[in-house]
Amino acid sequence: MTMNPLGYPLKREERVLFGLRALYQRHGYRQYKMGKFEEYDLYARNKDFLVSDGIITFTDTDGRLMALKPDVTLSIIKNTKDVEDQVQKVCYSENVYRISGSTRQFKELMQTGLECIGDVDLYSLCEVIALAAESLDLIDADNVLELSHMGVVSALVNTLDLDPDERAAALQCIGEKNIDGLKKLCPGKDVAGVEKLISAHGAPKAVIEALRPFCGQGLAKAALDELETVTRLLNRHNVQLDFSIVNDMNYYNGIVFQGYIHGIPTGVLSGGQYDRLMQRMGRESRAVGFAIYMDLLERLDKESRPYDVDVLLLYDASADVAALSQAVEVLTKDGSTVTAQRAIPDKLKYRKLVKFEGGKIID
């Protein structure tokens, strides 16, 4: 465990949080502190963008319907402006309130991330993806950052000529890597391109080569070219391709990505370009960003601490309080944790028991 300057050990989440903040600020991302509430209307208008469908609402003193933030991105967009040739770079660490998993109950979740909003160019896009890769490195070296391109996915699915319901089902099959399901969905159709999209994953160069024959021209080629450029620029980072990342096409476009850490059963980082969401909110700017689900990181440290406290200092009712305070001070000098008690607490695990008798520490 890393010690902080005060001398007590930091948990991994805390260490990562400080590291991420420093990393983002080094690249000019300004910390953005938000209020906990937002008008409900903002989420009602962009409901599908939210990961979970439930929102905690309440009525403010002036009668407005308010919500506990289920998401950070929408609030940040709302508070930025479109300025030509400029990008606004912000980072945040905020709690969000969502319905989680199968229990269908609200949970408070800690999210850290950044957003880059404005005239996003190739440099800004690569910077954000590189920061995502470096964020994963800060959490644990054993990680994977996977990129997908909604343009490639969309163009190849378009070749199947499906109605909207079938198209949604095809996208679901891509997300599940479900080739059998895709074939059943499109009997008699040539699904070779989409099948390759599902089966090809891993090192960017090989995957792009495998997809080239199916992305001959037009939008598909342009998207694949963009992906090639970006992955070439990011080659010093551990970046892979996998097109099973299928985010909602009403909001996301271009490159989307997801980060995994070995030992955590779900993705810990999620992000991408969301120009479509900007358009839907009446904005001209482009945008890219990502979020890290910090609460998942506590799963990484499997070993629990063997002791609750280093030293249990037992004293009796007659002990001199000033002398006792001094004794505690002495014992904590070497960085030990000390609890002073008159009796041994139930279930407390301590490394060493020390008695305080006659104004002195007796080992």
């Binding site: 199968s102 599940e176 890597k177 059998d180 399901g181 850490i261 059963p265 993705g267």
Partner: protein, 208 residues
Amino acid sequence: MINVALPKGRLGEKVYAMFAAAGYECPSILENNRKLIFENEAAGVRYFWVKPSDVAIYVERGAADIGVAGKDILLEYRPDVYELLDLNLGRCRMAVAAKKDFRDDTEKTLRVATKFTRIAREYYAGLGRDIDIIHLNGSIEIAPILGLSDVIVDIVETGKTLLENNLEPVETIVPISARLIANKASFKFNASTIEAIAEGLKGQIKYD
């Protein structure tokens, strides 16, 4: 080491036979004892038996890297997993069944008894039909007989149980079979091993 969650029961035994034939044997698994976890270090696999409806939970939460679950479970619980292969085993269908003399009275709310509330709700929502869902955990067939519900939504294999209770299938909702599923994060870190297993199993699938 790849952790494999197998569904306890007849289907699970058939699935294990496919794994074994594909080169991922673990002979101790067939011994009749109370052990739950079986390992073949050389082949790099560890099997464990769990309740069929729990397989998806073990895989989604990463306790198992891969597993075999019925499509019914995947449709009902929507776990966030990869569905790598249709094993074409345990084939049956999700169907609406009713008493033989049943006539759908569209003037009334349809009462539907089922274990699969999500599948039933989505099916009838697609039809725009107002229904009253009655969630039961077993012996679904008894519901229409006792007048608890108008129809049931359940898995139909041969239709024999329905027939014995004077019921018949009215509509097929979706065909069901066993699927090989994988945890998404595990797949990232063990892609080649998991794909090799999937490829091996693919060679064992029997089509008719």
